[in-house]
């Protein structure tokens, strides 16, 4: 393999970094036909001094995230193919009951993502790892496929293969001094060994990534954080195995630690100590580092409290005479604001890609994902949870990254509820209604930095009226970050009317002579409709999966408003701006911060709006203002763009108003609505109960790049003649039919989903759907069936689950099972496809 300090003057792509990620990226780029790949690293090979060199190198495949599990399983396959994987098994153990419950949830994720695993008792744990004291544990989650890998060797082999293909030049000991851009696009990489002209650069620099990205004016939001590790040995009982690893790895989850054999030593790592953050600019150079730049001096006092936990569990060998702490480091790893990797093209600079904040367990999978993404725009594994474009500007600031990394560090081994909210760096973005909402006792959830009321404590009185129709949630886990008030707000909306703050929508104005063609090219639905008409449309990936779904409003011949969810607004903005034509025929403006939105829905919505909308455009009858249209009206003194549309399936409007008049809009509607019993309702209704009753799909839950519109039940009767992204695979999907179809399932009577204590349980999403016999269900593409969304349906008096099911199970009336916390409960397929369970003809919404 060629490795020197001379660099070529031109390259098709420059990959910066020769850790597991960079090595994997060059390998997969070469596999996909890229040539003239140049790989740089400031350090020497094979261990340039980054986090790959000091990682503990074990892999537990199961994660609650489907995307992360998929990346991990793919990585294990690759490590194995390279001969660098040793299977040893692994056990996550529980000391306390809360963790035991979490392990049951873990099992559900394992089943959902297709990783064999089982729950075992303390005796079995001690059989597998005889040094563990079974007396202090309640049980374990045993995953036989857990393995250790050699990422340095794997990386060397990957570089070798790419070099042998004639695709790769490696230059080690080379410093990147600048990244040059021209008109917002990469143009060259400057190094202390020469300049390389290139329009594509991948930053795979681990903890240094933010520093390198900044050279091009881009931000990679991560921070180096310390993870402490010690090696204790020599331990004769381990030494006599004569091998690197003979016993399963233990993750002592309650202590936030792990213990693994490493030859004659026991390696102990901790995520329990205080968060210790570093600055990318202050990482020592290779020469100045005592061990390596990412192995910082051990701070003993931070680790000391963990010693007792380790001794309690492993006292039988840690207390061996002669065994001591032979090695101890503060190892640096990368942490992001939400804990997920940072992958994809940076929003700031075209052609500049990030491949950062990746663990050893995901490295090779990330390499493949990124290479596919760079090559065809469409990785096999949906990347939305790791997409660098997911971050809004405030989320890319160092202050935000530090705050969330500090808060997130102890969550690495923590028990994190799926609805758990972050507490730091809040509030960031507040709607103009915020003051009123606070006064009403709103419980705020955060989306994209927006503070959104999930429910209002002021509505607790509604429980007197509706309480008998609202089943309580006796189990604390099911009721965490939830309130029965949500269901009460729902029923108040369905019976009367409610107002919902939707200011978190991301909104874009697209205009100009090329606007129609531009949107036609991105949207699956027909965009060329009369002025004043709305259009709900999926945006597809090149592979025909979902990239987004959103609403378009034709405001004029050449002007459109795009309205999309706050959670995905940053990614959508990136998608729209990257596709803008170069000829200037389309202008794009992000008007999110200029527009606030109030939803007004319920059978009395027309009465309320009529009472405060008395001008000449105020004919709100169904004939004058039918469903699916938009009009400019005046509410009190506030000019409003009103859209006759609903995500909760009831009569009403989205009212879009100037941000600065938002408070006036809120007060006007609230006052006009008072005689009709209006209440504010939260996102608990909008995003879950109302939505699920209507079978509406949610981007990131039901919709992602791994499913197509035919499967999601969103295929349209006709395919428009205009070309659009993903059209060909969409046409193919219509021909072949769905491998799985999105269905709505119902839980049975409370007794049917009661646990061993007789408490009815409520799945929260992510659980596997099994056959009536308890067999895992997977479709012909290998995708397991799991709960994409779950929530109560107060108007139906039931609890709904959405899941993709293969054709043999996607039959209404079929009895299946859902596995929740290691118990199985019967469910019934209530609906196949998109027809809502509630008001299936949409009579209410269209009245």
């Amino acid at each position: 393999m060629t490795s020197e300090r001379r660099v070529p003057s031109r390259a098709d792509v420059v990959v910066i970094g020769a850790g597991i990620v960079g090595n994997s990226v060059v390998h997969h780029l070469a596999e996909l036909g890229w040539r003239r790949i140049v790989q740089l690293d400031q350090g020497p090979l094979p261990d340039p001094g980054g986090s790959t060199g000091h990682a503990s190198n074990f892999i537990f495949p199961v994660d609650h995230s489907r995307e992360i599990t998929a990346l991990t399983v793919d990585s294990m396959r690759q490590y194995e193919k390279l001969g660098t994987l040793t299977t040893c098994g692994g056990i996550e153990i529980a000391r306390g009951p809360e963790r035991a419950e979490e392990l049951r949830r873990r099992l559900a994720s394992a089943t959902a993502w297709g990783v064999p695993a089982e729950l075992v008792g303390p005796g079995r744990v001690a059989e597998l790892v005889p040094f563990v004291d079974p007396g202090i544990i309640l049980g374990g989650f045993w995953t036989p496929s857990v393995a250790v890998v050699d990422p340095l060797q794997a990386g060397a082999l990957m570089r070798e293969q790419a070099t042998a293909q004639g695709a790769l030049t490696v230059a080690a000991g080379v410093q990147v001094t600048d990244l040059r851009t021209r008109r917002g696009r990469m143009s060259a990489v400057c190094t202390d060994a020469g300049e390389i002209e290139t329009d594509t650069v991948v930053i795979a620099c681990g903890v240094w990534s933010p520093r390198i990205a900044r050279l091009a004016g881009a931000r990679i939001p991560l921070t180096p954080v310390v993870h402490q590790m010690i090696d204790v040995g020599p331990i004769p009982a381990l030494a006599e195995t004569g091998t690197e690893i003979a016993y399963p790895i233990i993750r002592d989850m309650d202590a936030l630690m792990y213990e693994r054999q490493s030859g004659p030593d026991l390696e102990i790592g901790s995520y329990a100590h205080r968060p210790i953050l570093h600055e990318p600019d202050e990482i020592p150079s290779i020469e100045a580092a005592a061990l390596s730049p990412t192995q910082l001096p051990f701070t003993q006092e931070d680790f000391d409290p963990q010693l007792e936990d380790a001794l309690a569990l492993f006292g039988s060998i840690l207390d061996t005479p002669g065994a001591g702490i032979r090695h101890a480091i503060n190892g640096l790893l990368s942490l992001t604001p939400d804990g997920a990797p940072v992958l994809g093209e940076t929003p700031e600079v075209a052609g500049l890609w990030s491949a950062a904040a990746v663990w050893i367990k995901e490295g090779p999978g990330v390499g493949r994902m990124l290479a596919e993404w760079m090559t065809g725009g469409d990785p096999e594994i949906d990347p939305h949870g790791a997409d660098i474009a997911r971050f809004y500007p405030h989320q890319r600031t160092p202050a935000h990254v530090r705050a969330r990394a500090t808060e997130g560090f102890n969550k690495i081994y923590g028990i994190v509820h799926p609805r758990e909210q972050w507490t730091s760096a809040r509030p960031q973005r507040v709607s103009p209604f915020h003051a009123r909402e606070r006064a009403l006792g709103a419980e705020f959830f955060e989306t994209g930095g927006w503070e959104r009321p999930q429910w209002y404590e002021s509505n607790r009185a509604l429980l007197d009226e509706f309480g008998d129709r609202i089943p309580g949630r006796e189990h604390e886990w099911d009721a965490r970050w939830w309130s029965p008030v949500i269901d009460a707000e729902h029923l108040a909306l369905r019976e009367r009317v409610a107002m919902i703050d939707l200011s978190a929508f991301a909104q874009f104005d697209v205009s100009g002579p090329g606007a129609l063609d531009y949107l036609q090219h991105l949207a699956m639905a027909q965009v060329d409709r009369p002025v004043g008409r709305l259009c709900y449309t999926p945006l597809l990936t090149p592979g025909g999966g979902f990239r987004s779904d959103l609403t378009l409003v034709r405001l004029g011949e050449d002007s459109f408003r795009v309205i999309t969810g706050g959670a995905d607004g940053a990614r959508d903005r990136f998608w729209f701006t990257r596709h803008l034509p170069a000829d200037g025929s389309v202008s794009f403006a992000d008007v999110t911060s200029a527009v606030c939105t109030l939803g007004l829905w319920g059978p009395r919505a027309r009465d309320v709006l009529s009472a405060c909308c008395a001008d000449e455009a105020g004919d709100l009858t169904n004939e004058a203002f039918p469903f699916g249209t938009a009009r400019r009206i005046t509410v009190g003194t506030v000019p409003v763009l009103a859209l006759r549309v609903s995500y909760v399936g009831d009569l009403g409007w989205e009212l879009h108003a100037p941000f600065e008049q938002g408070l006036r809009l809120w007060d006007t509607v609230a006052e006009a609505g008072a005689p009709f019993g209006i209440v504010p309702a939260g996102i608990g209704v909008y995003g879950t109960t109302g939505r699920l009753e209507k079978g509406y799909r949610l981007m990131g839950a039901e919709l992602d790049a791994e499913y197509d519109p035919v499967e999601a039940g969103l295929a349209l009767p006709r395919v428009k003649s205009a070309e659009f992204v993903g059209k060909r695979p969409y046409l193919a999907a219509r021909e072949t039919g769905p491998a799985a179809t999105l269905c709505t399932l119902t839980l049975g009577a409370p007794a049917e989903h009661a646990d061993e204590s007789g408490i009815p349980r409520y799945p929260q999403g992510g659980e596997p759907i099994l056959t009536g016999d308890g067999e895992r269900i997977a479709d012909r593409k290998g995708r397991g069936s799991f709960v994409t969304s779950a929530g109560s349906a107060p108007s139906l008096g039931s609890y709904l689950l959405m899941a993709y099911l293969p054709p043999e199970h996607a039959v209404e009336g079929t009895r299946l099972q859902v596995e929740y916390m290691a118990r199985r409960y019967p469910v019934t397929v209530a609906r196949v496809g998109r027809t809502p369970l509630f008001d299936p003809d949409d009579t209410r919404m269209r009245s």
């Binding site: 100045a288 005592a290 000391d304 207390d319």
Partner: protein, 254 residues
């Protein structure tokens, strides 16, 4: 046997030692701290002596409160008691350090059994003045042997050996005595987990002394010329084998 081991908190630097802007100090902002290898051997030797002959090991460090980290490290290796000597200044020179230790020893032994043996590292890992042990021994009127590579109890005293050119010098020393030992004296143990837990909870005694002015002043520190190893590619695949053999031959390993 009552043994006192003196240790110094020193920065653990990499290949290149970072200096402060004025060039008078090591820039320790990103460095960890440790005790030097000679002192690790001194602690190890003391622990072994006491294990074999009874008594206690006391570990002492002069300097700021952070020195507790190094004292506790020695406690984790098996020392019994820890003493911090607050000399009132952050970096005393060898003369001031020796003065502080001498005063502290007098304080510690006032009314108690005197120490039978004082152990020092031959020199500190950072400054390397080779003075403190000798100055303390002189101050206390004790015999001292420096550069000690072997040490054993012999009768009422100790037998110590040190390398001298191609030969070996052997000393018989009556107790109480002092020794400045060198790396290689023994193979120091790693601190055990139970030892570490004990050390963490141990109470350290702080002894205040009247600082004496030293006579040594650091003018400037300089980085040695950059002699970063250059990577030489010897060849590729099997063709590289003869060159590799030549290198191994040159190193005398084949």
């Amino acid at each position: 046997m009552e043994v006192l081991v003196c240790v110094k908190r020193v920065p653990a630097a990499g290949a290149r030692v970072p200096l402060t802007g004025d060039g008078r100090d090591i820039d320790t902002r990103h460095l960890g701290f440790t005790i030097g290898p000679h002192e690790e051997c001194a602690v190890e030797e003391a622990v072994r002596l006491v294990a074999a002959h009874g008594g206690r090991v006391t570990v002492l460090a002069v300097g700021p409160a952070e020195c507790a980290e190094q004292v506790r490290y020695a406690l984790a290796m098996g020392a019994d008691r820890g003493v911090l000597v607050d000399a009132g200044r952050s970096d005393p020179d060898p003369e001031a350090t020796a003065g502080a230790i001498t005063q502290a020893v007098r304080t510690l032994t006032g009314g108690e059994e005197p120490f039978d043996l004082l152990l020092f590292g031959d020199c500190s890992a950072d400054a390397g003045h080779h003075q403190v042990g000798i100055r303390v021994a002189t101050g206390l009127g004790l015999p001292i042997v420096s550069g000690v590579k072997a040490l054993e109890v012999a009768g009422d005293g100790l037998r110590m050996r040190r390398e001298a050119g191609d030969g070996v010098e052997v000393y018989r020393v009556p107790l109480p005595a002092a020794a400045a030992v060198r790396e290689g004296l023994n193979l120091p143990r790693y601190p055990s987990l139970p030892g570490r837990l004990r050390a963490r909870k141990a109470e350290l005694r702080t002894v205040a002394v009247e600082p004496e002015p030293g006579g040594l002043r650091t003018v400037r520190l300089r980085q040695p010329a950059d002699d970063r190893a250059a990577v030489v590619v010897l060849g590729h695949g099997a063709a590289a084998a003869p060159a590799v053999v030549d290198v191994l031959d040159e190193l005398g390993v084949v």
